[in-house]
Amino acid sequence: MMRVAISGHAVHVPGLSEVDIPGAPAEAAAGPDDAHRVLGRKGLLAKEPATRLALCATHEALRLPPGKLTEPVPGAASTAVVVASNLGNVATVCQVVDEVRAEGRHAVSPLVAPNASSNIIGSSIALRYGFTGPNFLVCSGATAGLDAVRLGALLIRTGRTHRSIVVGVEPDDEIATRLCPGLRAAAAAIVLEPLTADEGVVLGPLTRSRATLASTMDLPGGTYGAAGVLGVAIAAALGEDHQVACGDPNDGYAAMPVTRVRTLVGIS
């Protein structure tokens, strides 16, 4: 079976830099309101915090210079996008209900309309970078992050794409934190491609358990659906063998080994 390698990674936890957490930017990562520092000002109007953080992480994982794209991302066509997030648009949904009940539908901004659909994060990434491959949101609770990593790799192994961008993100707005106490805003992105070089960091199989599974490195707490992607991105940044785990008592636990390998092209 084809092996899938991590060819890019970014950890984007607002306020944290590479001093605080492996894989983070050299300067403290931009919060949603400062996303223009990474992305440029264009195209951020009415974008939710989760979408902004996801775009920042994607931008950094692709090692693009800050600001607006000056040329298309190479290989954008047919690139897949798999996003892990559970609470990205709950604040918008509640806000729209408050507005329409209080003042009628004309109080609602049409610019917000796309955010009523939960897959807005992935489609925003596709739109900005021109990724026309499979594009979906995984929202299976606390294991969503590793579920998304596993499905992003599966899209490559089944020939659906040559490259998957996998992003994990949760916001920390009032609605999201009421539903999920202790939640912190965080995003991470990894770029997955078939292993073709002499060495690389590869993903192992996903395992599940009702009993607790633990990561072998430190992960910031409270990142819920983003945790699995965050862990894989940190492991890739460390460049060491690690087990990444996520989950909770309700949703069970998932774990995946991330391993540095040396191989010979064509023999693996």
Partner: protein, 399 residues
């Protein structure tokens, strides 16, 4: 690219505003619509007064979870699945998840806990021993995307059987958006009609059980492929090129030429943009002598993530019985659909062996499914001798 191993559909179930599977098929053939005035929300304030709701009493929390549990249990029973002895995975697609329950929790003080937002507990209430429950959310193509993920899990030998399901109810926030951008309230969905007014949402859920066809003795409908694409064109508007890419991906993955497709279950939402865009895509892919085209949303409303699987079940039923329902609500086709084989007015007899099911969603996410019903399953009384010979030749040509 080599064609994926076909997977067989071994169990199905659905629930719509029209009723269960058989009631929905019967209503489609009779041209009966499930449209009604919305009672759970303030339609006048929202600017959306009508929809295709499942009328099951006073509104309560977690209705999509309940419909999901029902269709998953029925489909699994029909397939004779035993998750205790085989690796059975479940993939749930949903456009709006349990966001209606989030709205009622926030604005009306209804109860909700975090895990309710996805569908693990709902599935495990009826199938406790499944290996995993994956919830994916992809607007109005979620069911088609879930089917693609299910096929990929089988192809990678990560499951022995997969229950693919989808469920949705309308949210107040999405209704507000539809009302906000619409000109005037719509009272029915009229897919591909020159006078179509726009889309209305519907409630419902559907499930299919898929297994590797090689494992089975008796003939079953085969999922030949699911093609996926993203337009990367606009947040809400569809794009012909992206839709065509998903259709061609489905055809290429199955190794089937457009001429081998006998029937299309269109996405057909009755909006200003979808129907001409889908018409242009169908004309571009199939040319002037294309397949018969029908669709369900004039009868069921737009059931969001559930729509792809409901259309799939209707396609299988139409091929098995040899009768294709007309597009409920369609009277005068729009100009862009002039050369297409839309089924208008009354059901048509058709000898169809391979059907294409279209599903497109917000964000330009497209999923196109090809499903095949074998010769031995075709209803003999409804297929003429000439059609049987044509289909037999087609079968030989592909084997």
């Amino acid at each position: 690219m080599t064609a994926p191993n076909p997977v067989a559909v071994t169990g199905t179930a659905m629930v719509t505003c029209l009723g269960d599977d058989d009631e929905t098929f019967a209503a489609l053939l009779a041209g009966r619509s499930g449209v009604s005035r919305l009672s759970n929300v303030d339609g006048e304030t929202l600017g959306v007064t009508h929809g295709y709701p499942i009328e099951d009493g006073p509104e309560r929390q977690l209705r999509p979870s309940g419909w999901l549990a029902d269709v998953v249990a029925r489909a699994a029973a029909a397939a004779g699945l035993d998750p205790a002895t085989r690796r059975v995975a479940v993939v749930v697609g949903s456009g709006l998840r349990e966001l209606r329950s989030v709205e009622r929790w926030h604005a009306d003080g209804a109860e909700l806990s975090l895990p309710d937002l996805h569908f693990d507990a709902a599935v495990r209430s009826v199938l406790p021993d499944v290996t995993e429950v994956l919830t994916i959310s992809n607007a109005c193509s979620a069911g088609g995307y879930a089917l693609a993920v299910g096929m990929d899990l089988l192809a990678a030998d990560e499951a022995d059987a997969v229950v693919v399901a989808a469920t949705d109810t309308m949210t107040e926030s999405m209704l507000a958006m539809i009302g906000r951008v619409g000109d005037e309230p719509v009272t029915a969905v009229a897919p591909f009609d020159a006078d179509r007014g726009g889309v209305l949402l519907g409630d419902g859920a559907a499930a299919v059980v898929i297994e590797p066809a090689a494992d089975l003795d008796e003939p079953r409908p085969l999922i030949r492929s699911v093609g996926l694409s993203c337009d990367a064109f606009h947040e809400t508007a569809p794009d012909r090129d992206g839709i065509v890419a998903a259709m061609r991906d489905a055809h290429d993955r199955a190794g089937i030429e457009p001429g081998g497709i006998d029937l299309v279950l269109a996405h057909g939402t009755g909006t200003a943009l979808n129907d001409p865009t889908e018409s242009a895509a169908l004309a571009s892919v199939f040319g002037s002598d294309g397949p018969r085209i029908t669709g369900i949303k004039g009868a069921t409303g737009h059931t969001s993530g559930g729509a792809a699987l409901m259309s799939l079940l209707v396609a299988i039923h139409a091929m098995r019985t040899g009768v294709v329902p007309a597009i409920t609500g369609l009277r005068t086709p729009l100009d862009e659909a002039a050369g297409l084989g839309l089924v208008v007015g009354s059901p048509e007899p058709a000898a169809a062996r391979i059907a294409q099911v279209d599903a497109f969603g917000f964000g330009g996410v497209n999923a196109v499914t090809l499903v095949e019903v074998g010769m031995s399953e075709l209803a003999s009384e409804s297929v003429s001798q000439g059609d049987r010979e044509r289909l037999a030749r087609a079968c030989e040509g592909e084997s």
